[in-house]
Symmetry: C2
Subunit: 347 residues, 2 copies
């Protein structure tokens, strides 16, 4: 530590001394407590300015038993969402950054700070528990990209405040935010039918992920409503390459003229695969994506896609946790967001 200028950083005590009041009064002023005489407030603020006082968070946290910190856990196997960019892959998906941005918009006004943690191994999972047990964080915001993730269960068992992004894969007494995936699938189906597609297919995500399953179900239900009983499907892994592969089999086996891909990455892959076969999008085959991510504007034609308001969802997720921390004995609640179709060129 560079102790050149300041041999020791100033404490409450120092401020009290300079202001000629007691530590308690300084504390009251610093924390904006009511019932302090104006002249004392002034003297203290003056002393604070003069000493450059900054309250020590560890000391405060020790007595208040609050860290004003939440743990943001990204829990997924390394290969589930993104490409071969090494460990920490999950983070390379812009999805993650958007979630982070949304979280921060709720956290910042409350002066709560997010600390990032990856949890793919068992060891890492137990570290998550320890971290909040040791009082380093007040709660957990969990973004799980993994099917059968034991972490939600572990956290509720431990009685720790947690909010999930996406519905957990089996019912648990905890809060989460999600998009109405069924409705999203229906939106895509309606669009494809409206365009006059006669033979539609779907590129799904990994079906052990509830959201991916729901999008499929919603899509199929809507197609059934339109009188189409059978919808061929091919599963992908949410990556561009998997979209290319899935689309290729769909095209080869079923000569589809309309496809719903369960996320934008795979939709981009689907467009690429179609074009490679000499097909024109959207005339020969229409493609609808899901997410409205940055990828939607990276392809031609640009992607018609089902938008999920990730930033807002993440913001709400943080808000739910904060609320839970303020009022501990709350029942868990779910916030479900309605998706919207964004019409661009591909369908």
């Amino acid at each position: 530590m560079p102790d050149d200028a300041s041999p020791r950083v100033s404490t409450l005590e120092d401020v009290a001394l300079v202001a000629g009041v007691s530590r308690a009064s300084v504390s009251r002023v610093v924390n904006g407590k009511a019932g302090v005489a104006a002249h004392i407030v002034e003297a203290v603020n003056d002393a604070i300015a003069r000493t450059g006082y900054v309250p020590n968070r560890a000391a405060r946290s020790l007595v208040t038993r609050r860290s004003d910190t939440v743990l943001v856990v990204v829990s997924g196997s390394d290969t589930s969402r993104a490409g071969p960019w090494g460990p920490g892959d999950v983070l390379a998906d812009p999805f993650f950054g958007r979630v982070a941005g949304g979280l921060m918009s709720s956290l910042r006004p409350r002066d709560v700070h997010p600390v990032l943690m990856l949890a793919v191994t068992d060891d890492e999972r137990s570290r998550v528990l320890s971290y909040v047990r040791e009082g380093s964080a007040d709660g957990v915001l969990l973004v799980s990209a993994q099917a059968g993730d034991p972490l939600p269960q572990m956290l509720t068992d431990a009685g720790l405040p947690v909010v999930l992004f996406s519905r957990p894969d089996h019912p648990l007494p905890l809060s989460y935010v999600d998009v109405n995936n069924r409705a999203g699938g229906a939106l895509a189906a309606d669009r494809l039918v409206e365009r006059g597609c006669r033979s539609v297919g779907i590129v799904t995500g990994p079906l052990d992920i509830p959201g991916a399953e729901d999008r499929l179900v919603g899509f199929r239900e809507a197609m059934a409503r339109h009188g189409v009983a059978y919808v061929p499907s091919a599963a992908g892994t949410f990556s561009v390459e998997s979209g290319v592969a899935a689309m290729s089999t769909l095209l080869a086996d079923h000569r589809v003229d309309g496809v719903f891909a369960s996320n934008d990455n795979m939709a981009v892959g689907a467009i690429l695969a179609a074009q490679e076969r000499g097909l024109t999008v959207p005339d020969d085959v229409a493609v609808v994506g899901f997410d409205d991510s940055t990828a939607a504007l990276m392809c031609r034609p640009t992607l018609t896609t089902v938008r999920q308001p990730i930033e807002e969802m993440a913001a709400e997720m943080a808000r739910l946790l904060l609320e839970r921390l303020d009022v501990p004995d709350q029942r868990p609640s779910a916030a479900i967001f309605e998706p919207a179709l964004v019409e661009r060129g591909s369908a």
Copy 2:
């Protein structure tokens, strides 16, 4: 807090009581200090297991004056890197996630945790300073996407340990990691020339960003070496759309047959713009990108691009900070990584 199961979380004292030793001994065992008799170690570990003891980080931090936490600051104006996805845009670029992943790979083994902070306003910048002043973080890892960012200066002035991603725009006594941008520009030039391009252009990033400037300089120098004195340029903002726009003017004004775009997003835009004009990539016009990001595989042809090892760079950045924290009186150092050309379809 759900005090159902545990009325109070167990402390060192409790463990000491159970183990029948002193607090000091427990502390020694917990921290793996040498010189503790085997039977005591055993008794303590046993007691820890039985009580479910987890050390309180605030208390520890209060006395050690170490938080085992570093601040990861993303400092940039909201609009500099990514698209119109609202506030927190900077994070939507996969670039950020890759950096985060790289950082964590160095931080995790040392059990240091990253807390995330955005700094675009003055208020937020001063919060960064406060945060480490109040002992909440031991140092700062700064990813600045902004030209003329005052934060590096502020941090060095305050004498706080900081490491930058990318060379600061004016010389400062601090450590940073960067890629050899000049060499990267040269790699792109060599490739274009090698392909037989006779009229090359460059889509630059914002030229007040040192890295963008360096890529331009490196590219021009190499072209000069190949006997080409003049290289037309058009500036973009690192976004896909800006790449489309810049490429369009280059194509219209200079009929280029080879282009170097200063990042992959803009390179994708360049390909799109070329194809919109009925040109074939790479035959009519070759395109080289920079980064080797996820976008490189989202277009057809796939992107030939100058790879910068973002994860490794970020990992090194964290390592530099950790080192600086261990040995405070170190001179700042720079770690420059060599870029490499990744050959794919576009050039």
